[in-house]
């Protein structure tokens, strides 16, 4: 899902560009897999997000992340979206190195935009903005926190006057996600 738009590091001692690149690639892999499952994959979008998708988060964070699904994923609107295509995705990763040059943590900043169609035929625009804290866990990197995460799903409707107009009644069948 995400091309790496920027990679940076903060060193407390030895610099290690190779380790930073490797860490950033793993962060990219973790978040790409999660966003693919949470937003783009039609199979997982139509049903509840499979448990495996939450493995992007550290085990002890998963319960909290699930309760914040409305901000981290499409939430309850997912099943009502028929098609969705990525229009923009950027990921910037900043890695913290310890004095020996070993990656200790990363902050990833995500911008994700997609557009598609609702099942009723209306256009839909999805916007997600988030920042994630990740740490190495074995061979991979997992999310241990998200200082900020938000998801908006909107339907652009023609409005000749250019002013706000009421939404089609069909949209009323969707309920906003649970408040975090």
């Amino acid at each position: 899902v995400f091309p790496l738009s920027a990679t940076g590091s903060v060193s407390t001692g030895k610099r290690n560009a190779g380790a930073v690149r490797a860490a950033a690639a793993k962060v990219q892999g973790t978040l790409s897999a999660f966003y693919d499952a949470a937003f783009l994959d039609p199979a997982t979008r139509r049903q509840a997000l499979p448990a495996s998708a939450w493995n992007a988060f550290a085990r002890d964070v998963q319960e909290q992340a699930r309760s914040d699904a409305a901000s981290l994923t499409l939430g309850e609107t997912g099943p009502n979206i028929d098609t969705l295509s990525l229009t923009n995705a950027t990921l910037s990763v900043r890695v913290l190195l310890d004095p020996q040059g070993r990656p200790q943590a990363a902050v990833a900043t995500v911008a994700f935009d997609a557009s598609g169609m609702l099942k009723g035929g209306e256009a839909v625009v999805v916007t997600n903005r988030a920042s994630f804290l990740l740490r190495p866990a074995g061979a991979s990197w997992v999310v241990v926190g998200y200082p900020d995460a938000r998801t908006d799903v909107q339907s652009p409707t023609p409005s000749p006057s250019g002013t706000a107009s009421p939404a089609p009644a069909a949209s009323g069948s969707f309920s906003p996600g649970a408040s975090p």
Binding site: V10, A70, L96, P99, G145, D148, R150, Q154, T157
Partner: protein
């Protein structure tokens, strides 16, 4: 490094170290409004935004703003850090000089509160293995390890970690984080420290922060007032950490790097980061800044500070949950 002493420290990793930030975000209110709007009408809220070309309205179908979850230290017992400031001059060993700034920072990890307890440098105390003398000599006699043991002996509080900086370290740290906004409670005009401030809020660069921290000649209680001002600097740094972290979480790494380069500590970078996250979750009004109750006196010709018996209640209170009150 004091890593071999067997004791249970608050967990710095693993399952019990996470928590939701205890704050209300504007985004949370946005969700509430959206929910109320959807309940009020089956037609969802129209935002009235227009795009390029054909005018459109954006109908909000789903909006969930402001989920925030930051890893923080957690543990059944409180966390205690000894913050030391060395009076080493250029060319001197930072760890082998006197510690003229001495503070216990107690953190209640359960209720996200903290207390900063300062000790005047001239406090007349027992130093293990060295008899009774001024508390600031402990570090010059045995490094940070003896400073820790001395404070533990005086207070009965078990210190988990120590952090030590120098005059230059403080200057560089304050400059490195872009300065601090500090409330100066009364005018300070002291040629020794260079403090020259009107009452009110000031933006301090490194040298000004250092002058503020060092002035003891025209502050109430001398050394006691100075110790309280040093606590004020810590709270100002915490306030800035909150603002920075809320605006751009990636900047916390810059703080860690600036800190790491300018302190000596027995913490790892990883635990320092955990502490920073924990600090970002402690509301400012949950932080107390105290100095041990004491009176000024003489031992021979030396000016000293006698910690009063009232301090025992403070120590006992802090031992329970890390904070006073």
């Amino acid at each position: 490094m004091r890593t071999s002493r067997p004791r249970s420290r608050p967990s710095t990793s693993g399952p019990a170290t996470r928590r939701r930030r205890p704050r209300v975000r504007a985004g949370g209110m946005a969700v509430l409004v959206a929910v109320m709007a959807s309940l009020a009408s089956p037609a969802l809220r129209a935002t009235g935004r227009s795009g390029p070309g054909v005018p459109v309205s954006m109908v909000e179908i789903h909006s969930a703003h402001g989920a925030s979850y930051v890893p923080a230290l957690q543990g059944k017992r409180p966390l205690f850090i000894l913050a030391l400031g060395s009076d080493a001059r250029p060319g001197q060993s930072v760890t082998k000089q006197r510690s003229d700034s001495i503070h216990i920072i107690g953190v209640d990890l359960v209720r996200h509160r903290a207390t900063i307890l300062g000790f005047p440098r001239d406090s007349w105390v027992h130093i293990p293995g060295h008899g009774t003398t001024k508390i600031n000599t402990a570090m010059s006699l045995g490094g940070p390890a003896l400073a820790v043991r001395t404070v533990e002996s005086v207070t009965g509080i078990r210190i988990d970690f120590w952090m030590l900086t120098s005059f230059g370290g403080l200057r560089r740290m304050v400059n490195g984080i872009g300065g601090l906004r500090v409330y100066v409670p009364r005018p300070m005009h002291d040629r020794f420290s260079g403090a020259n401030f009107r009452r009110g809020i000031h933006r301090f660069n490194g040298p000004k922060a250092l002058a503020f921290a060092r002035d003891r000649h025209d502050v109430p209680g001398g050394d006691l007032g100075r110790s309280r001002n040093q606590g004020r600097l810590m709270i100002a740094a915490l306030s800035k950490l909150h603002r920075v972290f809320d605006k751009d979480p990636t900047r916390i790494f810059g703080w860690i790097a600036v800190g790491w380069r300018n302190i000596r500590t027995d913490l790892s970078v990883r635990t320092l980061l955990d502490l920073a996250f924990t600090a970002s979750s402690i509301p400012l009004d949950h932080v107390k800044n105290l100095v041990v109750p004491a009176s000024v006196g003489k031992v021979g010709s030396a000016s000293v500070v006698f910690i009063t018996s009232a301090a025992r209640r403070i120590y006992a209170d802090m031992r329970k949950d890390g904070v006073v009150g």
